[in-house]
């Protein structure tokens, strides 16, 4: 079945009693037992809730996974997965990582004795160099945030297999509609479901898919143990959002390519980062492993004064953190998403005070371009 069809089917088999087209919101904490030592399959909603399970089964199907898991945020998903490791373990990590992940690694898990090496994971030689005897995992973003670098998931997964490392891919920017990390050999995929999967800027949630049933058991232990689960209402909203994943992303990608091309022609723009542009360094690689290029664009303006002008003068485009929703959002990574990375390090990565990130929505692209144009030419806000 095509991914678009699978996404629309999520939750459909759930309510055989009433025939309802959508899974009920099981707003319950606990479940009555039919007898001693017997269970309906549901005991306590932290351990399993039918609405959450419909979402978990749905994301697992989209990713060809043994099992899926839903958490109260993308960060809760990542934290819960890191509990698979132990003191003294070492992980190789994408260097231009989402700031929240970086903060979690550096300020919480480092204190617990986990070691991290940050490398350019779009270069497999750098990844190999970072290998240590205690390396236990690789954490990559399939498209990096915010510079949209492309990692070769197949090669990285092969590398992980040969050294016995867990290969974890944060696939938030592409979603299973465009790239399926487990099919390329990864062990685990992670999503901030708040982004494209939910897609309406109205839910905070995290999702995880796991390839092997054995590993899934361990992931389940920590989901239930640490208890950072997603509530039923947010589970239901995420399912609802996922049903339109394909049409949203189709339109968003179309808009993104038009805007990226327009930005490229703009003399006030020094650089455009969008892997859908043929001259982009990751273009061919991404084409070989994904069904599209996503709808995230980063661009560097020629003068830092333009940053504030653009953020405040745009009318359709909102200045807000987050991405992946139907509304177009613009973000200033240096002070928003990546504020927790030290300034010198940020600058070295290219996340400077002239860089803006655009999450392209499903508005009409001409309207979006006209909004950008008036913001560029209108003078200081």
């Amino acid at each position: 079945m095509n991914i678009a069809t699978t996404a629309v089917q999520i939750g459909l088999e759930w309510d055989s009693r009433t025939g309802a087209m959508t899974v009920p919101i099981y707003q319950t904490a606990t479940f009555r037992h039919p007898g001693l030592g017997q269970s309906t399959g549901y005991d306590y909603s932290r351990s399993g809730n039918p609405t959450r399970q419909a979402l978990e089964t749905g994301i697992a199907r989209l990713d060809s996974a043994a099992r899926g898991f839903a958490y109260s945020s993308g960060m809760a998903a990542i934290t819960s997965l890191l509990l698979l490791f132990k003191q003294g373990d070492h992980l190789i990590v994408t260097e231009d990582l989402y700031g929240g992940t970086y903060r979690l690694f550096e300020q919480i898990f480092q204190q617990y004795g986990l070691e991290f090496s940050y490398v350019d994971t779009s270069d497999i030689a750098r990844v190999e160099e970072a290998l240590r005897p205690n390396t236990k995992g690789l954490f990559v973003e399939s498209l990096t945030n915010p510079l949209l670098k492309v990692a070769d998931i197949r090669s990285l997964a092969t590398f992980c297999q040969s050294w016995g490392l867990l290969c974890i891919v944060d696939n938030t920017f592409l979603t299973p509609y465009l790239l399926r990390p487990l099919e390329l050999g990864a062990d685990i995929a992670i999503y901030s479901g708040s982004k494209y999967l939910s897609g309406h800027n109205d839910t905070i949630c995290g999702l995880v898919t796991v390839k092997s049933p054995e590993l899934a058991e361990r992931v389940y232990f920590h989901q239930n143990g640490a208890g950072a689960v997603l509530g039923p209402q947010d589970s239901w909203l995420t399912i609802r959002g996922m049903k339109t994943l394909s049409v949203r992303l189709d339109r968003q990608q179309e808009n993104a390519l038009k805007i990226a091309r327009w930005l490229e022609q703009n003399p006030q723009v020094a650089k455009v980062f969008y892997p859908g542009l043929e001259n982009s360094p990751g273009h061919d690689l991404l084409r070989s492993q994904a069904d599209g290029f996503g709808a995230m664009i980063a661009f560097e303006v020629t003068d830092s004064a333009l940053v504030e002008q653009l953020l405040l003068r745009t009318e359709l485009i909102s200045f807000a953190e987050s991405l992946g929703g139907v509304e177009t959002l613009m973000t200033f990574p240096a002070v928003q998403t990546h504020a927790d990375i030290e300034p010198a390090k940020r600058e070295a990565l290219g996340i400077n005070d002239r860089l803006l990130r655009l999450s392209v929505g499903i508005e009409n692209s001409d309207d979006l371009i006209a909004d950008l144009e008036q913001a560029f030419t209108g003078g200081p806000a």
Partner: protein, 379 residues
Amino acid sequence: MKFATRLIHGSHAIDPATGALSIPVHQTSTFAQQSVDHFGRYDYARSGNPTREALEEAVADLEGGSAAFAFGSGMAAISSTLLLFAPGDHLVVCEDVYGGAFRVLTKLFGQWGLTVTFVDATSLAAIEAAIRPETKAIYLESPSNPLLKITDLRGAAAIARQYGLLTLVDSTFMTPYLQRPLELGCDVVLHSGTKFLNGHSDVICGFAVVKDEQLAQRLSFVQNAFGAILGPQDCWLTLRGLRTLKVRMEESQRSAVKIAAWLADHPRVNRVYYPGLADHPGYAAHQGQAAGPGAVLSFELANYGLTKKLLEGVTLAAFAVSLGGVESILSYPAKMSHAAMPPAERAARGISDTLVRLSVGLEDADDLIAELERLLEEG
């Protein structure tokens, strides 16, 4: 303002734009910004959501704390609080701690180098004797789950202060209506808000509440970084549940007192654990620190057959996991709340296979007693 009034009016102001008495469910992930240099009060909903904030402020106020943090489950509240510690740190923990807490302490955080000594926390001497140079905190439940043991919280907090330790108290069975550990000198109050605070068996949520500003900042950092937050719909439902906390607790407690006395006289009940009974060993200590015995009690039946008959035959109360709802819930600790504890550990703690826990709801006490009577009959 008195407690009952604070439950209704303390949580948040009436919506100034519309006059709505109930706070809107802010089902949003992000908030548009006006300025590049100064972000508004809300930027991203993991970091702060107005609906969650209303709930957090309400719970902080009821506990007499400076800040409360709402999490996706009671276990998420406990796990997030345990992230305040570092490898090599040691905790002194009451021995009949909730099975889920036992599991994260021993398996999850144990693997990260946190060490734990379980003690009979009804004895302050036992707590003090377990303190080592690397001890960082005392972790307590009072009353404990499922044996309703009582720890002298003032005394434990005084020992903690003397050794420079934090006192963490899971106060789920009491709620701030009956007991406020921060006022007794403890540092962190933990709740499974799923239970009496929300009270309707329809939400999974947890809280950590503190008084100290610095501790509040550290917990705020962990809540945002780990991100195990409570979603807006569940926050709203919990706020709704909180409004009836006092009337629910009062009624359930009144029934629990009646049922405990009835069970204590029953020939086929070997023992009743309830801090409202005058012969409970913690009766005096509990009276000194709480306004009532609560609505959870455990009892030991004469044999396993009777236990099975009761659990499977009960109709008015639900045979289920959890507690603290409007519905009475009968549960079986050995296979439910404490299933995560190895059998030997369970046995050593007195959690036998004839022990039943009853969370008393809002049904009429006479109806509940009539049903128990029928199920405990001979034959």
